[in-house]
């Protein structure tokens, strides 16, 4: 397992080039090209603002930024998963042409997803001023939260990359799970004003992502420390990471033959 990490680190230049060229290939044929990196999250945000603020008349004055940070972090997670399912089967030519650590394939999708997060964040920063977020020293927690999320995503994507190679039905199942997870996570709403108080603990324990999302909102907008339930996210992320690494290492050579 440690070997796996070492191999990936040795080929980090390859990882970087795959990310760079993948992003280039995705944007190349579009008229607006690179601008979509900013337009995508912005349009998504607008749709939900219309839905919640205007149609349902909820959300409160800071709703756009609370929604935006949660949406970006959720999208990083789900787009990485979606990419990981086909990450191996879509690169048959490369895999059968040269030896390289296959973990680079799901990892490249995760890094592309993180760039999308960053592009969204660039838009979020001026919005934080407009909607009067409370800036405190707690903002320093942000990289820690990102690291926790990254570790968890890596583990989950390594598992999905293996299973998705054998089972292309996983894409369909995943679409459903993502939709479900979206409504079960504090993205369109915040835990304190939606989830009944007696159920809060249960809700936060069942959904490891909830504590993390609330923590993003806490440190960036509410100016308070991360939610203590983020520790659930930390624990789950670490376990998923270890399991994912172990599972992927065990199956790497089988994957090469299965495609």
């Amino acid at each position: 397992m440690i070997e796996q990490l070492k191999n990936v680190w040795q080929r980090r230049e390859l990882l970087w080039y795959i990310v760079k060229f993948q992003m280039k290939a995705e944007k190349k044929n579009k008229v607006l090209g690179f601008a979509w990196s900013f337009l995508d999250p912005l349009l998504l945000l607008l749709v939900y603002i219309v839905l919640v603020s205007y149609i349902f008349g909820r959300g409160g004055p800071q709703f756009p930024i609370l929604l935006f940070i949660a949406l970006l972090s959720w999208r990083w997670f789900t787009s990485s998963l979606v990419r990981s399912v086909t990450s191996v089967t879509s690169k048959v030519g490369l895999i059968q042409g040269v030896r390289f650590p296959l973990a680079i394939l799901p990892l490249s999708g995760i890094i592309i997803g993180f760039f999308d997060w960053l592009f969204g964040f660039v838009i979020l920063v001026p919005m934080l001023f407009i909607f009067e977020a409370s800036f405190t020293v707690n903002i320093l927690w942000l990289p820690v939260l990102l690291l926790v999320e990254f570790v968890g995503i890596v583990g989950a994507c390594l598992i999905f990359a293996v299973v998705g190679t054998y089972l292309s039905d996983l894409s369909n199942i995943l679409q459903f799970l993502i939709r479900l997870g979206f409504y079960l996570s504090p993205i369109l709403y915040s835990v304190e004003d939606t989830v009944p108080e007696r159920l809060t603990t249960l809700y936060m324990l069942v959904n490891p992502f909830a504590g993390l999302l609330e923590s993003y909102k806490n440190v960036l907008i509410r100016g308070v420390p991360p939610s203590e339930y983020a520790l659930v996210g930390v624990a789950v992320a670490l376990v998923v990471f270890m399991v994912g690494l172990w599972y992927f290492s065990r199956n790497e050579y089988k994957l090469v033959k299965a495609i």
């Binding site: 080039y17 060229f21 290939a25 048959v92 030519g93 490369l94 042409g97 090469v256």
Partner: protein, 250 residues
């Protein structure tokens, strides 16, 4: 040097997805009445290629030629026997399968170069030579999906020839080029012969005879013959004319 001894590579027959999934979840789901669906793509393959030697590999479609090259490139680990490779391998993406169709030829040179373990600086140094050799001209900056198969083959061949690795694997890539390019490719082959260790898969017997000092004939995953190019090629062509009973692999 490449030393292959008693090599065996086993594949799972690609069955219906559903039973594949059941297999995946464990032995106990497997229907024991059915055959397990395994087959040996290669078995009992033993040979040695000395440094600087060029070995030709011939055989019918599906006889294990490409699989053998992939084992030497380290892509498939042996299920049986051992493979030891002394030196760095330049892998040839046969007919440009390793290219990203949306990217330009130039970007693909970088991507492929990095894949086979070159650094960006090394590629910067050889990229003009590659573009020149592949004769792509202005096409080098348009997406590879617009290339003809000959253009892709030329680009793939040019990258492999300029990558300066000790061991060069060539999988039928010269076949798609036109007459002029093939002459140029032949000159290039002669240049690296003796200097590099080359394993050359081809269905073109004159190419094999011209460059190989030894020829291996693979038949349904087994070594049918190995030796002097002329002799082995003759045997192979003779066998292609009449039906031959399958060799016993077990």
């Amino acid at each position: 040097m490449v030393k292959v001894s008693e090599l065996g590579i086993k594949f799972r027959m690609q069955k219906r997805r559903r039973s594949q999934v059941l297999d995946f979840f464990g032995e106990k789901f497997r229907n024991r009445q059915r055959p397990t669906g395994e087959f040996w793509a290669l078995r009992h393959v033993t040979f040695t290629v000395e440094r600087g030697e060029t070995v030709g590999i011939i055989g019918r479609n599906g006889s294990g030629k490409s699989t053998l090259l992939r084992v030497i490139a380290g892509i498939y680990p042996p299920d049986e026997g051992t493979v030891s490779v002394d030196g760095e391998v330049s892998t040839l993406f046969s007919l440009g399968t390793g290219f990203n169709a949306e990217l330009s030829g130039r970007d693909n040179i970088y991507l492929n170069g990095i894949m086979i373990g070159l650094t960006k600086i090394q590629i910067d140094g050889i990229i003009d030579a590659i573009i020149n050799f592949a004769e792509l001209g202005d096409f080098i900056d348009v997406p590879v999906r617009t290339y003809s198969s000959g253009m892709k083959a030329r680009l793939g061949f040019a990258i492999a020839m300029h990558s300066d690795k000790d061991i060069v694997l060539i999988d039928e890539i010269m076949a798609a080029g036109d007459a002029a390019f093939r002459q140029k490719a032949d000159v290039e082959m002669e240049r690296i012969m003796g200097e590099k260790t080359v394993l050359l898969v081809s269905h073109n017997m004159s190419t094999i005879e011209r460059f190989a000092s030894t020829v291996i004939w693979l038949d349904r995953g087994a070594m049918a013959a190995m030796g002097e190019p002329k002799e082995v090629i003759e045997q192979y062509l003779a066998a292609s004319r009449v039906k031959k009973p399958p060799p016993d692999l077990d």
